[in-house]
């Protein structure tokens, strides 16, 4: 088990160190997410009673767009410099490599979200942040990062990867985004929607579990030449 876990941490730590140095992923995605919420703030002219019902949609739209931008960079540092070959020639399983990359992407997305959320609170005068909402954001981000890391590795080998990544990724991750919006809405407005907030959270968890099993397996196939 130690042989499996250790490389996951080593790869994640390496990605974090490289990101601290280059700031390629977090800065670009953060700027994009902030742009989205600032534009919505001006475009929708939201009044306080409207905030709670619109907040989940705007937030998850910002997270999703910023996320796909971040995912696009996940394998650039590996492949453009030939280091992906070096990584794949290390005596560790492909699952460990995947989980290492996925962990770092998850952390980057959580960092972006934790910076976007306070600014959203200020801009929209939003006061419904709760532990439940944060839990939903974390659950959704886990599925997003897992699926995104896989599609980033697929798109990396394609010629027009910047176009292909969102085209491949969004249709698969849409159920998680919808479930996150619905669950967030339920928690923020404290209302019971059609199938109940708990079931939306359950749906996110099921998708997370499916992605956590399928994506590492698919990554092994994608990396095989």
């Amino acid at each position: 088990m130690r042989d499996f876990i250790r490389p996951v941490f080593v790869i994640a730590w390496k990605d974090i160190m490289l990101e601290l140095r280059t700031k390629d992923i977090v800065v670009s995605a953060l700027v994009f997410a902030l742009m989205v919420i600032v534009i919505f703030n001006f475009a929708l002219n939201i009044t306080p009673p409207m905030v709670d019902s619109l907040a989940p949609g705007i937030l998850w739209l910002a997270f999703a767009f910023a996320g796909v931008l971040a995912m696009g960079r996940a394998f650039i540092t590996e492949g453009d410099q030939g280091s992906l070959d070096g990584l794949l020639l290390c005596p560790v399983s492909r699952d460990a490599i995947f989980l290492g990359k996925m962990s770092s992407m998850f952390l980057f997305m959580v960092l972006i979200e934790s910076l976007v959320l306070p600014i959203f609170v200020v801009l929209f005068n939003f006061d419904s942040i709760s532990f439940k909402l944060i839990a939903i954001v974390l659950l959704g981000t886990l599925g997003f990062a897992t699926c995104g890391t896989l599609f980033s590795s697929i798109a990396f080998n394609l010629r027009s990867r910047e176009i292909m990544l969102p085209l491949l990724f969004f249709p698969v991750v849409t159920p998680i985004i919808i479930a996150c919006v619905e669950a967030s809405l339920g928690v923020i407005t404290d209302t019971v929607n059609i199938i109940g907030t708990g079931r939306w959270i359950g749906l996110i968890s099921v998708f997370d579990a499916i992605f956590l099993v399928l994506c590492p397996w698919a990554f092994g196939i994608v990396m095989e030449e």
């Binding site: 250790r6 790869i11 030939g82 005596p91």
Partner: protein
Amino acid sequence: MLISNIMTSMICKTTPSEIAKEPLAIRVEGLSKSFGATPVLRCFDLTLERGKRLVVFGRNGSGKTTLLKLLSTRYRADSGNIWINGISTDLEPNMIRRSIGVVLHNPMLYQDMTCEENLRFFGSMFDLSDLYDRISDVLCKVNLVYQKDQKARNLSHGMQKRLGIARALLHDPEVLLLDEPESGLDKQMLDDVGPFLFKSTRGNRTIVMATHNSEIGLKWADEVAFLSKGTIVYRASRSDMDEGRFHDMFLQQLEKIT
């Protein structure tokens, strides 16, 4: 994948005594590899004894790099089998990766990490115990001690190549796979690095090297082979080699390249 890895490691564990008994470092049987509709290697067979150095010549596209990538487990063969020190690359790829060092055209480094950080990362991936001593040792061997805190992107092409060699030697592999290691290195550096490539702490390393450079190739080789259209068309030990035939073939290959 995780479950299959665990199952494979439980079922197919090769014992150290079995590995030690195996006289052949490399055994390849019926290996074929295509990229799309283009066949690169066809029913390729190869054996190489432990501690021997095989230098493979061949024109561009003859399959040299593909052969090295298949031996290194980076590529998966369409058909055929490869055993390194008696271990199948299909069954226990991680065990193979632990026992081989690979130098490809690309130095396989993280450009925004320093020389030392690159080596520390790859050493950690190999779970090496005395990592700091090993890093000092390999940096000394490739003469990069004073550049250890420089980022890889700030190094010259030759220095990056040397760092790539240091990365390949870090875990003291028994088998070394070299794809044109001489590119970017001056003659003096090749002479300095050569002995470190040949010897591991356990004795002579088994080396498979692909090159276009006949001078270095003949100097380093125990055996030479010519690869053409995915098959070996000539193979001889360095001592029994017909120099005239070798040079004819080499010139023929050179003409095709130019």
